[in-house]
Symmetry: C2
């Protein structure tokens, strides 16, 4: 008997995770008896063998968060966030959602008094500035964006509140998700999906960085796997730091385009234009794209074998023809 809450439940990861949990019917070896999805706009509920509640709620509103916790939650996946480009453009918005909102989610978990499992989606955007290249475990977080800063603050709160026994936190620094389905968004990393997604669906896309720009990436299927694995393993196994660099894979944009061509033929790559965008370049150059996540590998998180798989999985899971069928 376990109840699950997903914030950002209307996002593509939230939706994939919800569908997967509905298909599994259980989590941590226990039958799921209820699931709550919250997002700014009311999320779509998946077909499920248990009741699914959907709420339109702003996590920066503590009373809306209290409503999402009504009846108690056993496992919380906190995915909701204002993305990097938007948090950079509007500092106060990022602070309100990514800091105040995250604290609302954590405090509501604490208020339950039973230390629920809380999986927190942090980001590799916490790395930058004076961090070495490659980034090893134990490197000081020196984010060069407000988004990365707010995610790093959430990590510190998650760790301290786990130490205090208020919640049982597990923080994952997600690599760039590629190939992300849907439409381009305000994330500075949006192009890292759109230059594959749009051409694979017959549409043009622009790449604002050069072919030799490296990307630290992970496909949506493995993100969902990692979130479930994080919820399942013993929180104490994380040790004194509940936040980890998640495995991913580094390929240059050019190598990823070549992988797409090997899977889908030469036509998609012809739809990519290569016009530099200095604003995007400045943000993404501040990130780290090579990481050595040894602790996460010890904890059983695995790295992807190739970007070809990511292209195949996009075609299987998220291509317009599949998604609309």
């Amino acid at each position: 008997m376990t109840k699950v809450l997903i914030t950002g439940g209307g996002g593509f990861i939230g939706q994939k995770l919800a569908r997967r949990l509905a298909a599994d019917g259980s989590l941590r070896g226990r039958q799921i008896t209820a699931m709550t999805l919250i997002d700014l706009a009311e999320p779509k509920a998946p077909e499920a063998p248990f009741p699914v509640r959907t709420l339109a709620a702003d996590i920066s509103d503590a009373s809306a968060v209290a409503q999402a916790y009504e009846g108690g939650q056993d496992v919380i996946f906190h995915l909701a966030a204002v993305v990097s480009g938007a948090a950079e453009a509007d500092f106060d918005l990022g602070m309100r959602v990514n800091l105040d909102g995250t604290l609302n989610i954590f405090q509501a978990a604490r208020r339950q008094g039973d230390s629920p499992v809380l999986v927190y989606s942090s980001s590799c955007a916490v790395h930058g500035g004076e961090a070495p290249d490659p980034v090893t475990d134990g490197v000081e977080l020196n984010p060069q964006t407000s988004y990365g800063t707010q995610k790093a603050i959430g990590e510190l709160l998650l760790n301290d509140m786990s130490r205090k026994g208020f919640l049982d936190g597990r923080g994952l620094r997600l690599p760039t998700i590629s190939i992300r389905p849907g439409r381009p968004n305000a994330a500075a990393s949006s192009f890292m999906s759109s230059i594959f997604r749009e051409p694979l669906q017959g549409e043009p896309a622009n790449c604002p960085v050069s072919r030799d720009y490296p990307v630290w990436h992970l496909p949506p299927r493995m993100i969902v796997e990692h979130l479930l694995h994080a919820a399942t393993i013993d929180g104490a196994d994380f040790g004194p730091n509940r936040n980890i660099n998640l495995p991913g894979r580094t390929d240059t944009v050019g190598e990823m385009v070549d992988a797409m061509t090997r899977v889908a033929g030469p036509e998609p790559a012809k739809l990519i234009t290569w016009n530099a965008d200095p604003v995007i370049e400045k943000i993404v150059m501040g990130w780290r794209q090579r990481l050595l996540p040894e602790k996460a590998v010890r904890l059983g998180f695995r790295a992807p074998d190739s970007f070809e798989d990511s292209v195949r999985w996009f075609l299987e899971d998220d291509h317009r023809d599949v998604a609309q069928s």
Copy 2:
């Protein structure tokens, strides 16, 4: 023409800093034209060649902070905090003062629109957990106390708000201050001063850890020097990370007692009792007491030569006989 604000202005460092600025009459090569001291209880105003305003204010109250900024501030020393033992005992109090209060101070500086210099007192308590021993620059902050967590969050905010040009931040991770004047307080590190201060004034004191416990320490005179140096150097010299490990000195409690004996004779050491306190031990064992602060040394911050100096300076500056004269 420069105006100075000191939060925690009633504390012993705030008072020493205020007296020093009053004696200097200038900061960053400019004449001081006004100084504001705020603290929970109205701070004592030093004799000064410029007007000194004193305010009783809780920094977690944004309107009180706005009052402290009235007329504009050019250099802010943010020293106010709930100390480690108190923040550990009362999580919400620590969050309110050390996180919300710090954010109020930073946001008020931002609201000025002229990016004032802001010196932030962080703490070596940000280090612990998975951090290596000794702590080098660039090590992930993994605090094992709520105080250290809240200080680390302040650092991230300081850095991001400096990057955005909202303020010109300089964050200093202060070593344990020894010999701190006054009375024992709720800091878990309180004994690191009291076992010298009380015996040097003819009173008994208990040491809750063993003689071989190492302490990363700095005397009050050098703390004031470091705060002034931090305010004076160019903010850009800090690079992408505005927060630094400050130089200090590692001696075991036993070595420090021996140094006291060399300066003040054998009597004070006889007034120390050695009854272990597991609660204090658990907190201070989570800290790091050996650091290699290379960046700070490059920036011109210097390490103390001996603990003997600290004992001498206590006798000159803070001994009851001096303080009451």
